[in-house]
């Protein structure tokens, strides 16, 4: 950390696409700060994959790096192909809640099950923001969106707990009101192997906040701060107490055989066998 952090060092000099007050910018800057603090002068050891949605624009094409902007929901499969053939590179997926646990949910579960060596950073703004604010699999119960004008009649998905169940090596959830914790989790996750998942609960004042009664991004951040419960505390609370809360913290951190390790062992053994015959 000889030089002070400068976000511009990692970004192409083109305008950013985020609305005023968007939480995507916090996630972008905390990620780049994490990269900087880990001593990466540039992003040449990384590859970025993203899908469709506002947060998929965090890496693509803004990061000065190899970035693959895929289809809606398909960033994890593409990252699978890349990681398996370039195990030396740090493969990071950015995506929204709709992208990762809506249309792309099955890939998310299977990548966690395989313990595929990638880091998935999900920006959860609880809505389909880019298309104008439709209900998402993460929208809170009863929240009004453009496609739930009477309030959502569905319950939101807990992506972090799902990742734990599916077999992820590292899972953490923070909000954009916890930038430092978010950055520290990103640092831990970047350095680890296996499937790593970080959920960043984020504000979309444009397509969500103003429809559910928040005046601006600041009010939403306040809401995050006031409703966040550390996971250690949450374990002591009842389901009822937790209904309106956002559980934050590190959900799991473990080490087990990863897909890259297992697959390359298979190759090594198959090659030995064929050379012996």
């Amino acid at each position: 950390m000889s030089e002070p952090f400068s976000i511009r060092k990692y970004l192409r000099p083109i305008p950013l696409p985020f609305c005023p007050g968007c939480g995507g910018l916090t996630v972008m800057s905390e990620f780049l700060r994490a990269v900087h603090e880990l001593g990466h002068e540039n992003l040449s050891n990384f590859v970025f994959c993203s899908g469709i949605g506002c947060s998929s624009w965090i890496p693509s094409p803004h990061f000065i790096a190899d970035s693959v902007h895929t289809l809606h929901g398909r960033s994890i499969p593409v990252a699978t192909g890349i990681k398996l053939l370039r195990p030396d590179l740090n493969v990071v997926v950015f995506g929204g809640d709709g992208d990762i646990v809506g249309i792309g949910l099955s890939h998310f579960i299977h990548a966690a099950r395989r313990n595929l060596d990638i880091l998935v950073i999900m920006v959860n703004n609880m809505v389909y923001g880019m298309t104008g604010g439709q209900v998402a699999p993460t929208t809170p119960f009863k929240a009004k969106t453009t496609t739930t004008p009477y309030g959502s009649f569905e319950h939101p998905l807990d992506a972090a707990r799902l990742a734990v169940t599916a077999g992820a090596s590292y899972v953490a959830r923070w909000t954009t009101a916890h930038p430092n914790e978010l950055k520290e989790s990103m640092k831990s996750a970047i350095e680890m192997k296996g499937f790593r998942f970080i959920e960043a609960v984020s504000q979309c004042p444009t397509a969500f906040g103003r429809r559910v009664g928040f005046k601006d991004a600041g009010e939403m951040l306040k809401w995050f701060k006031e409703n966040a419960v550390q996971i250690e505390q949450a374990e002591k609370l009842s389901e009822e107490d937790l209904a309106e809360k956002i559980v934050v913290g590190e959900f799991v951190q473990k080490q087990g055989p990863t897909l890259v390790e297992t697959i390359y062992k298979v190759i090594e053994e198959a090659q030995k066998e064929i050379e012996k015959d």
Binding site: S67, T70, T80, I82, L84, L85, H107, E269, A270
Partner: protein, 382 residues
């Protein structure tokens, strides 16, 4: 055991020949999802790829399979997947993405009888138009059609070569019959196989999506800072989603780079196309009937000429037009309810009468006798 089969004569299944050919071209990544009648390719490569240092992985569905293949290709490796109709449906969006991002890869569609689940184990040729127009937007597909185990081998190699040369996805449109039958195959020595690899950029180059008709393709992790996107982009890969000119230039170039080379890509087996009474245009397993039917017709002093399409798309217009100029009638046998027929009619453009011969269901082939009868019937009608 050797890593690759020696030059020799073998008795292989079509799917096996396809898999070995992929290995021979240097394919080192396969991702797929089980589906009849294509599963043998996945099974065979799952055993063989690790032996040559490659990776085969069964994904959770076809969307993931083709996604992983495109990702693998951007690492500089040759990659493929294999499926059948229902899985081919699911892959269409990503095939469009591969086209838009100019990603070489090979998709094998072993056709079965559709629509929908249809007759899963029975042969059909109903994916001809899907292979051309399956994804949305204006795009051009390269589609090859093998009619033997030998061609499952040869056209798989050709598919990889065209994919690498034109920087585009290529579809090997096989069918249940050629994929599942076993027959004699002559495997050439690996040195004698022509292999084309994608053109790589020189250090410092930045335009990987324009400027040239077929731009050079860098690999991930080489320091080129590649921006890949399925959104409309400029020659540097940067999104331009409002500018009409950027879109026009990109999409026209992507189509032109294939359409302008249609005759170079076209491979057609022709016989008497400039001197015949009755013409036949055929492809895939159905075309296996043309030889005996032609012999039988010639025994009855009917002059038959044929164009057997090994390339279906871009449509080999030159050979078919030649046939249309010569033949009094053209018969188009196919195991669907008229797909290539209309294309032949378009190219014939009134020069000659085009007669369909269609059969679907139960995987029943159009026999040489049926084709011969159609030839005879066409003569009698005069």
């Amino acid at each position: 055991m050797k890593k690759f089969p020696e030059a020799n004569t073998y008795f292989w299944q079509g799917n096996e020949a396809c898999a070995e050919a992929a290995l021979a071209t240097g394919c080192r990544f396969f991702a797929g999802y089980p589906i009849t009648p294509a599963s043998e390719i996945a099974e065979y490569l799952s055993k063989r790829l690790p032996q040559v240092g490659g990776i085969a992985i069964q994904m959770e569905d076809e969307l993931a399979s083709i996604g992983a293949v495109v990702g693998a290709s951007w690492t500089g490796n040759k990659a493929m997947t294999a499926t059948s109709g229902p899985g081919f449906d699911l892959m269409q969006e990503t095939i469009g993405w591969a086209f838009m991002t100019e990603t070489p890869c090979v998709i094998v569609d072993v056709q079965r009888a559709g629509p929908s689940t249809g007759q899963a184990t029975k042969c059909g040729q109903g994916d001809v138009m899907q292979s051309r127009w399956g994804t949305h937007g204006d795009y051009s597909a390269i589609v090859l059609s093998p009619n033997s185990v030998q061609e499952m081998f040869e056209l798989t190699i050709k598919a990889f070569n065209l994919a690498e040369k034109y920087r585009t996805p290529v579809i090997l449109l096989a069918d249940e019959v050629v994929a599942h039958m076993r027959e004699r195959i002559i495997v050439p020595s690996s040195e004698s196989i022509e292999i084309i690899n994608r053109r790589k950029p020189k250090p410092g180059e930045k335009a990987f999506f324009g400027l040239e008709e077929i731009p050079p393709m860098p690999s991930i992790g080489e320091g080129f800072n590649i921006a890949v996107t399925g959104s409309t982009h400029n020659e540097y890969g940067i999104r331009f989603t409002a500018d009409p000119i950027v879109h026009r230039q990109l999409v026209e170039r992507l189509n032109n780079k294939i359409q302008k080379h249609a005759e170079e890509i076209a491979e057609v087996e022709t016989y008497n196309i400039d001197d015949c009474q009755i013409g036949i245009v055929s492809f895939g397993c159905t075309s296996r009937a043309i030889y005996e039917a032609t012999e039988n017709a010639e025994a009855k002093r009917i002059k038959v000429g044929y164009a057997r399409l090994k390339t279906i798309w871009p449509f080999p217009e030159k050979a078919v037009r030649q046939l249309a100029e010569t033949a009094e009638k053209i018969i188009v046998p196919e195991m669907n309810l008229r797909q290539i027929f209309y294309e032949v009619q378009r190219v014939a453009n009134g020069l000659t009468e085009v007669i369909p011969l269609n059969k679907i269901g139960g995987g029943e082939l159009i026999t040489p006798e049926e084709l011969f009868e159609k030839i005879q019937g066409s003569i009698k009608n005069e």
